[in-house]
Amino acid sequence: MTALLATGLLAPLVLLAACLRPAWRPAVPAWLAVAPLPALAAALMALENDPVAVELPWLRLALALDFPGAILLGVSALLWSAGGLYAAAFLKRTTATLRFVVCWLLTLSGSLGVFMADDLVGFYLLFALASLPAYGLIAHDDEPTAWRAGAIYTAFTVLSEAFLLMGFVLLAAGDPTGSLRIGDVMAALPQSPWLNGAVTLTAIGFVLKIGLVPVHGWMPLAYAAAPVPAAAVLSGAGVKAGVIGFLRFLPFDSAMPVAGELLAVLGFFSAFYGVAIGLLQSRPASVLAYSSISQMGVIAAVLGMGLAAGNDSAPIAGSLYAAHHVLAKGALFLAIGVIAMTTAPRTAPTLFLATLVALGLGGLPLTGGALAKLAIKEPLGNGLAGTLANLSAAATTLLMVHFLVRLARSAAHEPPTVIPQAFLLSWRLVALAALFVPWLLYLASSGTVQAVLAPGALWDAAWPVVIGAVLAPAWVRWGSHMPRIPAGDVMGTIERVFRSSYAIGVAMERADHMLRRWPAAACSLVAIAVVLSAATI
């Protein structure tokens, strides 16, 4: 098991090492689909057996897989593998392949590793690896929109790293034994004098990663700029680095009502905000990105409610919901790529499958999405939170119909060159996985088929979809008259504010110019000598 986990972590890096030799480089893309498979095997093993924990002292890394980690690792590895298949075919039609492959493999190793990390520093490293190199994937197309998206993405990533660093330092400081193992640190956290600071800073770091409102602006820009396979793995698997962060570092055994409810409010707000702005987007990729903001909002709400109540089943519920999102969102991004290369009547099978997956996000009965929704029912309860979650499912259904319409309109106009088989294979694989894999996970987490097929459960799953579906035709008919909001909505304002801070730089440059004159420097020198002497007395 140790070997399998280590292989899962290192396989992408071995492939990366192969890139060092120019003669081997052309062969590497074909292996992109294989690199995540050891991790997939490790995840399956961990689901079969009990949770495992191993140490790799030569890397100063501790790895572990519990149930939430294993299912997220498993579905992410599946998506990365299918995405790798797509990417290999994509790379035959693009330039700068080496940069893409290197960034892909780095992001892959971080994105999978973060689910396995069992110590603070290792988690921080793998989280950074899952986030920063993705710049090269987002800014792959060398054009201004991609540069802007990449720059904004990087800024948010680095900001998230800074919050996490301080949060982790506080977490570590709270453990008197000096252990950095996540289990030890989290066990000591409730008694830590820095409990509130640690939870707040860590949570802010992960909120930035999963793109809750108001720090969501990078997401639509990044996913719209990234090439299809990159958008698929980043929106599906990449963003879950933030989700696993919440699962690992929120103290679910000790109730924190204020922090939990704050997170839930932020989550629900994002859930509806994402849908509202998503409806005003016309590019299918932007619509999906806003749907991601909304779905991450739902997960944050679930975890927030769990934290508020001290409900330690929330992580499992959240991970099941997130697992479905990995596959569904990944699949829909791949569908965009497939449709863009298919002419109108031949799009039908793809659109049919896409409809099932898309409506699954709203909770369409019998799809994987319905099971995901069932999983979060318990931590949300039947009160206001439960109702809001159902309404957000209805809203998501509406958004998904909007997406499907925009997707159908994005079909190719002229018969293009033949669509690569790898594109179709990859898309179908992930789509079917999105529909059926949640069943396996649901049954593995001791759910029963009867509970899903009970009339009450079917109705619960169905009515939000029905509401969304009823509203949809009206939106399709009149929605196009609504104003369009540019992707990233508030990002424009944030950029303006940020640019105005350049004035500080100008002022500091002027001050620097003054300080570097001889008289000023000589005065500083004397002043330092005098003040320092006085300060020691």
Binding site: L132, T154, V158, L170, I504, I528, A535, T536
Partner: protein
């Protein structure tokens, strides 16, 4: 034997300390005598030997868990002169040997004597000065008395200044002159302070002086003035904000290998002495206010240096301003590491780790910038788009160095920040934590400014690709900064050797 008596007697292995200083001095003299191509041959041949000696010293300190001491000529201080190597000295010796060697091998094509001539001015000067600078650094790291250290400091300055203006262009001469003048003013301040101490205590040996200051019923008033004067002088040579007027032109205009050594090592030489002064000589005087002042200057350096780095148009100027910022972190050691709590020890380790990782990362980045400038004929950041395509290994090394500056794992920079931040938390000194985090964000900004456009696929005309070997040196330095992030606990223990005995 008491700690003081131990520190005043040669112990086994102590002769290695003499060797560490004598070797580059002999090399320098031989180079001058033999001249021509021999200067280069001698310098390059002695570098591995020097590295070996440094490693043996570090191993000895680690094995004994006690400082190595050598009393010159058997004359005990205050009459004689002592050389001492504690954990901090030992790791600085190794770092200096590594960086000097890297810069030396990197510099071979730049400072080769032309084939048609027996001797050329610039190469001869470079190889002798490089060895002189190395000898001076080793003296600084090992010197056990304040006058001896003054001599070392002067030697360091006089070796460093001409390195700035080896090519003789007017702007480099101007930069070197500025450096020389300000460093000399700094020397005067230092010497004045040392004289005051000698007048009050009759010795300049660090151990005896510390004993004297500790044992004195009333601290002599001159001691306060001496502390302020010596520190101010050393800060001038360290280019701590706001005394950094000389650093950007000097470091940005020097030849790349010289810039690397200046930024990685020379500014740390005077910083090392500030540490010696406050932690070893006068720990009792390290009041919160004084240490806070040093921390505040360091914070100013972090913010100012980083923001200014964001605004530079030339790559080497950007790196030079980044040095100002990174030196700032070192001064957070003073408010955080002065004391005997466990978290003070963590802050100490964090500060030393910052000194080491910055040395490797910055040397790598300056050499990388040198390769870029050689290949393109300029180092304008706006025109570096696509350089990663042309020189992937160089850019990769630059990026790794940048990660260490940003404090991302795995790197020595991360370990340094982690330890410093832990100390701020446990010591309740939140202000410094905010500064450290801001500095990391700003570093992310200036590294991004270079690396992101460099990754672009747009074609770029490169005059000549750098040789694999020189790219390898740049990469090796960056990897050294990275490997520090994997340092085992025993390494952090080594940094503590010699520290605990002196803290009150």
């Amino acid at each position: 034997m008491s700690a003081v008596a131990l520190a005043l007697a040669t112990n086994p292995g102590g002769y290695l300390l003499v060797l560490a200083i004598v070797l580059p001095v002999v090399g320098m003299l031989l180079s001058l005598v033999a001249g021509g191509r021999n200067a280069e041959r001698i310098a390059l041949a002695l570098m591995p030997a020097g590295l070996g000696i440094a490693l043996v010293i570090a191993f000895g300190v680690w094995r004994e868990q006690a400082p190595l001491v050598y009393i010159l000529g058997g004359w005990a201080p205050p009459l004689g002169i002592a050389l001492r190597a504690d954990g901090f000295s030992a790791v600085m010796l190794v770092t200096a040997a590594l960086v000097v060697a890297a810069a030396g091998y990197f510099a071979r094509p730049l400072f080769a004597t032309p084939p048609q001539r027996a001797e050329a001015r610039a190469p001869l000067a470079f190889w002798t000065l490089l060895q002189g600078l190395w000898a001076a650094l080793n003296m600084v790291f090992l010197g056990g008395d304040l006058f001896n250290l003054y001599v070392a400091l002067e030697l360091l300055t006089f070796a460093a200044v001409p390195l700035v203006c080896l090519d003789g262009r007017p702007e480099t001469l101007r930069a070197a002159l500025r450096y020389l003048l300000f460093a000399l003013i700094g020397s005067v301040f230092y010497l004045l302070g040392a004289a005051l101490l000698y007048g009050s205590y009759g010795t300049l040996d660090i151990v005896l002086l510390a004993e004297g200051i500790r044992a004195a019923p009333v601290v002599a008033p001159a001691t306060f003035a001496a502390g302020g004067l010596m520190t101010a002088g050393l800060l001038a040579k360290t280019a701590l904000f706001p005394l950094h007027l000389w650093l950007p032109p000097a470091h940005a205009n020097a030849p790349a290998p010289a810039s690397a050594v200046l930024s990685a090592l020379v500014v740390k030489g005077s910083f090392f002495l500030v540490v010696r002064l406050w932690f070893d000589v006068m720990p009792g005087l390290a009041s919160d206010a004084a240490m806070g002042l040093l921390g505040a200057l360091g914070s100013g350096a972090i913010l100012f240096g980083s923001v200014l780095a964001l605004r530079q148009r030339r790559l080497k100027l950007l790196i030079a301003y980044s040095t100002i910022a990174q030196v700032g972190y070192l001064f957070l050691m003073f408010p955080l590491a002065a004391g005997s709590e466990p978290w003070n020890g963590q802050a100490w380790n964090g500060g030393v780790m910052q000194a080491l990782s910055h040395a490797f990362a910055k040397a790598s980045m300056f050499l990388a910038a040198g390769l870029v400038a050689e290949s393109l004929g300029h180092d304008r950041i706006a025109d570096l788009r696509g350089i990663g395509h042309a020189m992937p290994m160089t850019l990769f090394a630059f990026g790794l160095g940048g990660l260490s500056l940003m404090g991302l794992p795995p790197s020595g920079g991360f370990t340094a920040k982690w330890l410093l931040l832990q100390a701020t938390v446990e010591g309740g000194q939140w202000f410094w934590a905010a500064i450290v985090l801001c500095g990391g964000l700003l570093a992310g900004g200036y590294v991004y400014r270079v690396v992101a456009p460099a990754l672009a696929a747009s074609p770029l005309d490169v005059r000549a690709s750098p040789s694999r070997g020189r790219e390898g040196i740049v990469l090796a330095l960056a990897i050294a900064a990275l490997l520090l992030g994997f340092a085992p606990p025993g390494f952090l223990g080594l940094l503590q050797v010699g520290r605990a005995a002196i803290v009150p």
